[in-house]
C-alpha cells in the first residue's frame, strides 16, 4: 500500500490507555509521517493543552483511567481549542453519542489505514484553509 504524505507536517495527539492500541495507532500515524505525541489518559491530554501545546488532530479512546476521552474533549473545547480535529476511537457503540456531545468532530469504531488517510487529508485541508 502506498501512503501519501503530501508534505505532511501534521501534529497528532494520541490518547490511549491500552498498550497494544497505542502501538498500532502510533505505527499507523508513522506511516503517514505524522509527528505524534502519545499520552495514556484524558487528564494528560488536557494538561498538554493547558501547557500551550497545539495539535492539528487528536485521536482519543473513550474509557480510560483518571479521565475519559469525552471528558477531556469537553475541557479541550472549553479552552477555546475549536480548530483542532478531534476523533473519538472506540468499539463501544455507546461511545458515539458521548463523543459527539463532548465536541468530537468524528467517531470511528476502528481506525483503518484508509479511514485514517482520509481523516488526515481532511485535517490537512482544514489547516491549509485556516492558514491561507
Amino acid at each position: 500500500m502506498a501512503f501519501q504524505t503530501q508534505g505532511s507536517n501534521l501534529r497528532a495527539l494520541l490518547v490511549e490507555d491500552i498498550k497494544v492500541n497505542r502501538m498500532i495507532l502510533s505505527q499507523m500515524l508513522r506511516k503517514f509521517q505524522v509527528e505524534t505525541t502519545v499520552v495514556q489518559n484524558g487528564k494528560e491530554a488536557v494538561e498538554l493543552f493547558l501547557g500551550g501545546e497545539t495539535f492539528d488532530i487528536v485521536l482519543t479512546d473513550n474509557l480510560m483511567p483518571i479521565m475519559t476521552g469525552p471528558e477531556a474533549i469537553s475541557k479541550i473545547r472549553a479552552m477555546g481549542a475549536t480548530d483542532v480535529m478531534i476523533v473519538g476511537v472506540s468499539v463501544d457503540a455507546n461511545s458515539m453519542e458521548e463523543f459527539k456531545d463532548a465536541g468530537a468532530d468524528l467517531c470511528v469504531p476502528k481506525l483503518k489505514l484508509e479511514i485514517l488517510e482520509h481523516i488526515l487529508q481532511e485535517t490537512r485541508s482544514k489547516k491549509n484553509k485556516s492558514s491561507a
Partner: protein, 178 residues
C-alpha cells in the same frame, strides 16, 4: 478476501491450507524458499482472526519487519496481566460487576485491535453478563475467554513459526495434484 502484503497471500487462505494440511497425514506444504515441512497433526481453524489482523500485518515495513509479531507478543503479555486482574477481582470483589466490566473492557479493546474476534466475542458475552449482574454467567463466560485466549496463542505461535520457516518472501504453495 483479505490480502496481506507481508505474507504474500491471503491470511484466510493460508489458514485454510493449514487446516486441510493438518487433517491429511500425507499433505505436504513447500515454502518457495525451499524449506519443506510435513504438516500433519494439529487442527487449524480459520475463524479466529478478522480482517483487523491483516491491517496489523500491513503496517509492517523495512523499518519494522516484525511489527505484527511484536504486537501479538505485546497483546499476549498484556492480556495475561488483565486476565489475572479479572481473576483476582472475581475472587476478592464478589459481584463488583462494574470493576469486573472495567477490566474486561480493556481486554476487549486490545482483542479488537489485533482482530482476535473469537476472544473479543467472549469478552462481549462476559460484559453482557456483568450488565445483567449475573455472576454465574460471568464466571462461565470468563472460562470461555481463557480457553479462546489459550487457543489463539497456540495458533498464532504456529502461524509466526510458519512464516519464519517460509522466509522473508516465501509463500506456501500446494504441490500439484494434492
Amino acid at each position: 478476501m483479505t490480502y496481506c502484503s507481508h505474507s504474500m497471500m491471503c491470511v484466510e487462505t493460508m489458514w485454510k491450507w493449514l487446516h486441510h494440511a493438518m487433517a491429511s497425514p500425507s499433505y505436504v506444504i513447500y515454502a518457495t524458499a525451499g524449506v519443506g515441512f510435513d504438516a500433519r497433526t494439529k487442527e487449524f481453524k480459520v475463524d479466529y482472526l478478522d480482517e483487523q489482523f491483516c491491517q496489523v500485518e500491513d503496517l509492517q515495513d523495512e523499518a519494522n519487519p516484525n511489527f505484527a509479531e511484536e504486537v501479538v507478543s505485546l497483546f499476549f503479555k498484556d492480556s495475561a496481566r488483565v486476565m489475572l486482574n479479572i481473576e483476582q477481582a472475581i475472587e476478592k470483589y464478589p459481584k463488583d460487576f462494574a470493576r469486573w466490566d472495567a477490566h474486561m473492557q480493556q481486554l476487549k479493546g486490545s482483542c479488537s485491535s489485533i482482530g482476535a474476534s473469537r476472544v473479543k466475542n467472549e469478552c462481549t458475552s462476559f460484559r453482557n453478563f456483568c450488565g445483567e449482574e449475573n455472576a454465574e454467567g460471568c464466571t462461565r463466560s470468563f472460562q470461555k475467554v481463557k480457553r479462546e485466549h489459550a487457543v489463539l496463542r497456540q495458533k498464532l505461535e504456529s502461524y509466526f513459526q510458519l512464516l519464519r520457516q517460509a522466509g522473508p518472501s516465501g509463500t506456501a504453495t500446494r504441490p500439484a495434484g494434492k
